[in-house]
């Protein structure tokens, strides 16, 4: 058995398990070699606002063009019949783009060199929710994701202003049709309840007046870009949170940014996402003060959070439940498993209750203990067993022929460069069980790690079920991944 007592001296794994999607022995080793504060600073130091993964081709398409394509596909589906006389299945552009968008982001989470940026992008997606199911104009969701990545640890004030004019948000919360004559309250209500103040800090009248202030903000039908229609704006006097004036949407945002609850609400959510499910009022107030007095810059508050005693307390290790994205992306990353086709991973996230770009409602994913129900716990175990069965390295190192041929258009298997022999590092291969093959070798991410290091990499605390470290490495990895503790971070 592994002695867990020694682990208490190692905060590197804990930091990476919360700030990334999970870390390999090499990644943990690199952080272990540094001073803890320096490691936190490095996580926050260099970042680029662009994704590494190439954007889908259609991101520039306007909604009008997309509507034409969609109608053409529907017409085609009606006309064409297969040999059996049944209507042919024609993939409609919106569904196809939605699939490509989700695959694109999951790919980015897997290949990124700055996983904390992706974590924060996901954090903002869960704060300023918008869903494809409602928006149905996929390029807008792509652009919103770009905005979240650009401000991943940028500036919350700037982000809030941008979100209020964000086309996906304008569609999602019905700002698009909100006009002076009849303002739509949907965005105003969620702005106050979920994005800034939280329930109990405003009245129904505040919602109605805020809704009036945002009237006239819409999107251009042809391009899908933000547009301000002054003639649709209610320029009248409004009273909002005790102040009166002929407010515009920007005025409402400015008033909300002056309200102390806004920073508190953001810090409450950060705390729950990164530190603990149990709120610590004093610490959240301290972090909120840092956020507010620092002009809503995100870096100082993230830094203070990762350096906080509560975060660093060894008792807090393994007290958060991995989200479906954590579990899926983290497991693929940890095992170094090549997954050229991401659709299956996305489908698993959906089954587990977290389909990217489709939060269940405007409040986003509840997370925490609600990730684990009788249904999702069983599905998580099924997913992990499938991963384990798919993870042995072929005995013919570097031979790619046993990989199944690409059947789908987006299976982008890396083709060997011109004139280069197809010499690749050994890669795990599907269809050979990690558990049963005693000669099994692990992929490059885990190969060479001793049994104790393997268990410590995979688990945040002592396993619940027996993990026998005397067994073959493959069997140890399998046992650790199926242990309930693997669900924790």
């Amino acid at each position: 058995m592994v002695s867990w007592a020694e682990r208490r001296s190692c905060p590197a794994r804990h930091l990476l398990s919360r700030a990334t999607f999970g870390a390999t022995p090499a990644e943990i080793g690199a952080v272990e070699a540094m001073d803890y504060t320096a490691a936190v600073d490095r996580l926050l130091a260099h970042w680029h606002p662009q994704a590494l993964t190439a954007a889908p081709a259609w991101i520039g398409e306007g909604p009008a063009e997309l509507r034409r394509l969609q109608q053409a596909a529907q017409a085609e589906a009606k006309e064409k019949k297969g040999v059996d006389g049944k209507p042919l299945k024609i993939t409609r552009p919106v569904q196809e783009q939605a699939r490509e968008l989700r695959n694109w982001w999951v790919e980015e989470m897997l290949v990124t060199d700055q996983p904390l940026v992706e974590r924060m992008t996901l954090f903002w997606h869960n704060h300023f929710t918008s869903s494809l199911a409602k928006v149905r104009y996929v390029p807008a969701l792509y652009r919103q994701n770009e905005l979240f990545r650009r401000e991943a640890f940028g500036n919350f004030a700037r982000l809030l202003k941008a979100v209020a004019r964000d086309p996906a948000m304008l569609i999602y919360l019905d700002g698009v049709g909100s006009v002076a004559r009849q303002p739509n309250e949907n965005f105003a209500r969620e702005l106050l309840e979920l994005f800034t103040l939280g329930e109990g800090h405003y009245s129904e009248a505040d919602i109605k007046n805020a809704a009036r202030a945002f009237t006239g903000w819409s999107i251009e039908r042809e391009t899908g870009a933000f547009v301000d229609h002054p003639q649709q704006h209610d320029g009248g006097e409004k009273t909002f949170l005790g102040q009166s004036g002929s407010f515009t949407g920007d005025d409402i945002v400015a008033i909300l940014l002056r309200h102390p609850r806004t920073a508190e609400l953001v810090c409450e959510k950060l705390w729950r996402e990164f530190v603990s499910l149990a709120p610590d009022r004093a610490e959240i107030k301290r972090l909120a003060a840092i956020l507010r007095t620092g002009g809503y810059e995100m870096k100082p508050v993230l830094r203070a959070m990762f350096l906080s005693p509560a975060f660093r307390d060894p008792a807090s290790r393994g007290t958060l439940i991995k989200s479906p994205v954590d579990l899926v992306v983290g497991s693929v990353h940890l095992l170094g498993l090549p997954v050229p086709e991401k659709t299956q991973l996305v489908r698993m996230m959906q089954g587990l209750g977290q389909l990217p770009f489709d939060p269940p409602n405007v409040k986003g994913w509840t997370g925490g203990e609600s990730w684990i129900t009788t249904y999702t716990l069983l599905l998580r175990q099924q997913f992990l067993r499938r991963m384990i069965e798919a993870t042995t390295v072929s005995s013919m190192d570097g031979n790619m022929t046993s990989l199944r041929p690409d059947r789908r258009a987006d299976r982008k298997a890396p083709a060997p460069a011109e004139g280069m022999p197809a010499m690749e590092p050994p890669r795990p291969v599907e269809g050979r069980s990690l558990r049963n093959a005693s000669e099994a070798k692990l992929g490059p991410t885990l190969a060479g790690a001793d049994p104790v290091a393997l268990v410590r990499t995979l688990l945040p605390r002592q396993p619940i079920d027996q993990v026998e470290t005397g067994k073959a490495p493959g069997a140890i990895v399998a046992a650790a991944m199926l242990d309930p503790v693997y669900q924790l971070k």
Binding site: G177, S178, E193, L277, G318, T374, L377, L378, I464
Partner: protein, 360 residues
């Protein structure tokens, strides 16, 4: 004998005014000049109100007098947040109180249900709050065969400790629940006959009702099964969406009724719809409706006293543009807790107004 509650959540806030339509009221036409349901598209129930024509499949039940419509259901101090309001409905709290246990679980607080292996309620949806609580053993599943197969692969170890970690405690508790529930369900569900009439396959509702039917015909001793139909948050371009949803709901429930009758179990079940709120009386500029308050809800079952119950909220006496409720939702729950399960529960009401929709 205790009856089984089939709880049907209409997610997003169903528009009660276009479900049970006050077709004869001039105010209705004024409030909804474009969105109002035309008189000829209403199935008249009396001289004042009628069902939207898409609910036609439910007329069989209406004529058999086992379909009750409780009008104007709501609560004082209505909250218009989806999340807060559904929490109020799910836990039977007042609007100023936050409770963490569901109302069905609360109804069994002093009932001394067995604690060992087994299952008391099954949720075929993602929101399980109404049945969550220490007094009910609840499981969440989407499909029976998958559930049983996966449960078999996850063995339990009763001797482990969570070391004071709440997340781990939760994980281990769920694991134990799965094992206990699977033990009780395996033989029964595998032997359950297919429903007499197949459910329509559009959307997940048919699949949910199919599993609910099998659970009930297999004599699994549950007190409640929960399903849901989503998409009712119709802020914009409401009519086509709402009509499609009403059609799905009516078809599904009509088929469920026929299946229960065929299996000889219609007297043992009670169907209840609920939703976080109704919608604003006045239509909005986007061809939709915003979050409102009170709404009518459906109760069906072999022992239900059909007809209209409660009174339709007045459209001439709105409060901030919203309907005033005439029936407190906790009275609906109290009536069901007593009539279905023999549990006298008041849900914090000083005086319970028992409603007449369950035959004595």
């Amino acid at each position: 004998m205790a009856r089984i509650l089939l709880l049907v959540e209409l997610k997003g806030g169903n528009d009660g005014l276009n479900t049970v339509v006050p077709y004869a009221d001039a105010h209705y036409r004024q409030l909804r000049p474009a969105l109002g349901v035309a008189r000829e598209r209403v199935l008249q129930l009396d001289e004042r109100v009628g069902l939207h024509e898409k609910l036609e499949p439910l007329m069989e039940s209406w004529k058999a007098r086992d379909f009750a419509i409780v009008q104007g259901v709501g609560y004082p101090g209505p909250n218009r947040s989806h999340f807060r309001s559904i929490e109020i409905w799910d836990t039977a709290s007042s609007s100023t109180q936050t409770l963490s246990e569901g109302w069905v679980a609360r109804a069994f607080e002093h009932a001394g249900r067995p604690k060992g292996p087994g299952v008391d309620s099954i949720v075929i949806d993602t929101n399980s709050l109404p049945v969550m609580g220490p007094d009910l053993r609840t499981i969440v599943m989407q499909d029976a065969e998958n559930f049983l197969r996966q449960a078999q692969a996850m063995k339990d170890n009763p001797l482990v400790s969570d070391g004071g970690n709440p997340a781990l405690r939760h994980l281990l508790a769920v694991r134990r629940e799965v094992n206990a529930a699977a033990a009780g369900l395996r033989d029964k569900l595998r032997a359950a006959p297919a429903p007499a009439q197949e459910y329509a396959q559009e959307g997940p509702l048919g699949r949910e009702l199919d599993l609910a039917t099998r659970i009930i015909t297999a004599q699994v001793p549950v007190v409640a099964v929960k399903i849901a139909l989503g998409g009712f948050d119709t802020h914009a371009n409401q009519a086509p969406t709402h009509e499609r949803l009403l059609g799905l709901l009516a078809n599904g429930l009509a088929t469920f009724r026929r299946n229960m009758v065929a299996a000889g179990r219609w007297d043992d079940v009670l169907v209840l719809t609920y939703s976080e709120f109704g919608r604003r009386a006045k239509q909005n500029a986007s061809g939709g409706t915003d979050h409102g308050t009170a709404a009518p809800h459906f109760v069906m079952g072999g022992k239900v006293t059909g007809g209209l119950h409660g009174s339709y909220p007045s459209l001439a006496d709105l409060q901030d543009g919203d309907l005033r409720h005439s029936v407190d939702f906790r009275d609906v729950y109290s009536t069901i807790a007593r009539g279905c399960w023999g549990q006298p529960v008041s849900f914090g009401q000083r005086q319970v107004q028992t409603l007449g929709f369950i035959a004595a």
